[in-house]
Amino acid sequence: MIQLYRVSKYYEGVPALREVSFRVNKGEFVFITGPSGAGKTTLLKILFCAELADEGQIIIQGINAFRLTSSNIPYLRRNIGFVFQDYKLLPHKTIFDNIALALKVVGTPYGEIERRVYQVLKKVGMEEKLHLTPPKLSGGEQQKIAVARALVNEPQVLLADEPTGNLDPESGKDVFRLFKDINMKGTTVLVATHDWETVRKMQRRIITMAQGKVTDDGSQSSQHSLTTGSLTVDLGTSTRRTFETKP
């Protein structure tokens, strides 16, 4: 579970986030959308403890992020997978080594590493590319490897920042299909994206941001329900579900 309460962040006095509040339940799939400069990346960085918020409260997996010491941040990150727009794969290492690094970092015994790398690559359909280096793969393939690396430690939360920003539409679809599968197995997924077309098709909760503020939460209905025939129903104070309706 992720909960933010009136979170603000300033860069040299300029607000990047302004009193952002929302809650994401375990196993939810949430899109964070909005134009460039809306604060999507800052929000994900704060959730990942790469940036510190200046005001507000953040609870991630039951941990108060404000009370985390720098030596505890790595342990929180081990429960959160992160997928970057630019993949962040090490170009001189093989696909195997790139993924194995994530396992080594958390102290996985050597004997388990090979099996787990193979398993996760199989999950993303890339097990044949084990011994290649990233530059020999397409953008879509590299992003699948990045997703595999984010998943190899079986995190409870997956954060993705513009994961399809550098991909062609077909590769983008593959990556979102992966996110959907991961989410179906219980992982909470938060994706910051511009890709409104995919967002619309996937029929999940949408948090819309502009100028550092949440302007709409679960607003699929308000913006697109008439055209797509979807309806968002508030099932309580924090849980929203989106249902398909026939136009």
Binding site: S71, P74, R77, R78, F82, L90, L101, A102, V105, N153
Partner: protein, 295 residues
């Protein structure tokens, strides 16, 4: 077992050493030059120290007795002198023995003492001083104490010689320490630069490791080992070069330098200290760079 220990860090450090082999070879070369100076100085220091020690052993103090002391009184003084700290040996020299010795020393010029008539030399005790206690201040204090004993006429010792020895020893000690400190700081600087280059060359990997949950210890471990290895390799190389120079010296030079105490190479314990000390300096250099980089 969870977590990767020393073997992982060592393996990663070797990988790092191989990856930046040219930079690291230059670092090892530079460190070995600095360590060569340290080793060379230690070699001189240990040999000069041996020489100073043997000269120190030659320092003697003469305690002149008043005339007419009984043998009981002389024995009393003897036992007190023997009990003094730093006294290696006490020898009694009667006035008869003293004049005989004096005559022997003046061989060929006996005429100088012909007109003296009665033997003017007093009975005395000759004290040999342990070289560890042969510093000027200590000897002066000892002389002042002994001259206060009843039955003592006067005390004399090679004051100037002791002062020269003490000065030489202090010069070596302080000069050596200052030089070692200066070179130690240079080694830390060299290592921290080499490790910093390694850190920058693997910056992308380090950033990624931080993103995927690596602890500080996991990231810094290999770099610290790498710093230690660089410094230890540099130190070992310096010892090797020094040994080669020492053993390949022309025989005439060795004979010339060997007088009067013989010339020794560094003992194994000092070699171990140099290499281990290099390792500690490497660790400090590595820590400085890694902490700066990760903060």
């Amino acid at each position: 077992m969870k977590g990767y220990g020393l073997f992982y860090f060592i393996a990663e450090a070797f990988r790092g050493l191989r990856a930046n082999s040219i930079v690291n070879l230059l670092a090892i070369g530079t460190i070995s030059m600095a360590m060569l100076i340290v080793g060379f100085f230690l070699l001189i220091f240990s040999n000069v120290q041996n020489a100073v020690n043997s000269l120190g052993d030659q320092i003697e103090m003469s305690v002149y007795l008043k005339d007419g002391l009984t043998s009981y009184e002389k024995n009393y003084i003897f036992s007190h002198l023997k009990a003094e700290i730093g006294v290696r040996k006490v020898t009694y020299l009667s006035k008869v023995e003293a004049i005989a010795l004096f005559k022997k020393e003046l061989k060929g010029q006996e005429a100088l003492i012909q007109g003296l008539g009665e033997n003017p030399l007093p009975d005395s005790f000759e004290i040999s001083i342990d070289h560890r206690y042969a510093d000027a201040q200590r000897l002066e204090a000892m002389a002042r104490k002994i001259v206060g004993y009843p039955g003592i006429e006067d005390v004399s010792y090679g004051k100037q010689g002791a002062e020269v020895l003490t000065g030489l020893y202090k010069l070596l000690m302080y000069g050596g320490t200052a030089l070692a400190l200066l070179l130690g700081v240079s080694i830390v600087f060299i290592i921290s630069n080499s490790v910093r280059l390694a850190l920058y060359s693997r910056g992308q990997e380090i950033e990624l490791m931080q993103w995927i949950g690596a602890t500080r210890r996991f990231i810094q471990g290999p770099f610290l080992i790498e710093g230690m290895m660089l410094a230890m390799l540099g130190s070992a190389l310096a010892i090797g070069v020094l040994a080669a120079l020492f053993y390949l010296l022309p025989q005439e030079v060795v004979l010339f330098l060997s007088r009067p105490n013989g010339l020794d190479f560094l003992p194994p314990s000092v070699i171990t200290y140099i290499i281990m000390g290099g390792g500690v300096l490497g660790l400090i250099g590595g820590l400085i760079s890694v902490n700066r980089f990760l903060d």
